[in-house]
Amino acid sequence: MFLSDVLRRPVVGPDGPLGFVADCRVAVDGTPGQLLANAQLVGLVVAPRNRQGFLGYERTSVSSPAPLAQWYERRQRGSFLVLWEDIESIDDVVRVRPGYTRWSSAL
């Protein structure tokens, strides 16, 4: 499966739609590879709206210049991280298991 098959897909929880897949979070920490450890999926970042392009303001600690940072922060407010174990299936839509936890999407 490719990243492009997952990005921007709608995400559905037990009680209805949650938003869209904005990103895939990985941790470079699995079994050691040749040069770098394996990159293992941690979870999916879900954003309430399906928008492209935040110039990198999303989820990083960059907060200046202030007017720009605030504008983008407002645009992506409400996004969260769903861990891999809380994801039930990935198809045309991403289904999330009942009782899932919302984690902060901050890096």
Binding site: M1, L3, V28, G30, N38, A39, L41, D91, S104
Partner: protein, 130 residues
């Protein structure tokens, strides 16, 4: 939303869209060889229930697969993609560094073709500028 709990994972944490897509890829001599256009992940079968204990891993980066699908969706068949296995990646920063020379990857074929057919045939093409 600032009060959501923060999840800590060991190791370098990356968001694929944010940190990998559209990043410059350099070979082991810092020569640029392409940009990341897609990422291949194993362990997800569409529609099948997923195994919570077996998270998928990144298997390869897809380089310069064309801008058209990036802009308008869809993707070319896997056989037409230039894949670089994750095992060749040596570091990820403002660029993605590989541990092998660029000639080891088929994404550089057009560079080699233009070099052999055009540039190297013009006098001085193989010399360092003075």
């Amino acid at each position: 939303m600032a009060d959501l709990p923060k999840h800590d994972s060991p190791g370098q944490v990356l968001d694929l869209n944010l940190h990998i897509l559209d990043r410059q890829v350099l070979d082991n001599h810092d020569v640029p060889i392409g940009h990341v256009d897609n990422v291949e992940v194993d362990g997800i079968e569409p529609g099948r229930e997923l195994d919570p204990d077996a998270p998928p891993v990144v298997t390869s980066l897809v380089l310069n697969s064309g801008l058209w699908p990036r802009m308008f969706g869809g993707r070319p068949p896997r056989s037409r993609m230039h894949l670089v296995p994750w095992s060749a990646v040596s570091a990820i920063g403002t660029a993605i560094e590989l541990g092998q020379p660029g000639s080891a990857f088929d994404v550089t074929w057009s560079e080699h073709w233009i070099r052999d057919q055009v540039i190297a045939r013009i006098p001085g093409g193989r010399h360092v500028p003075e």
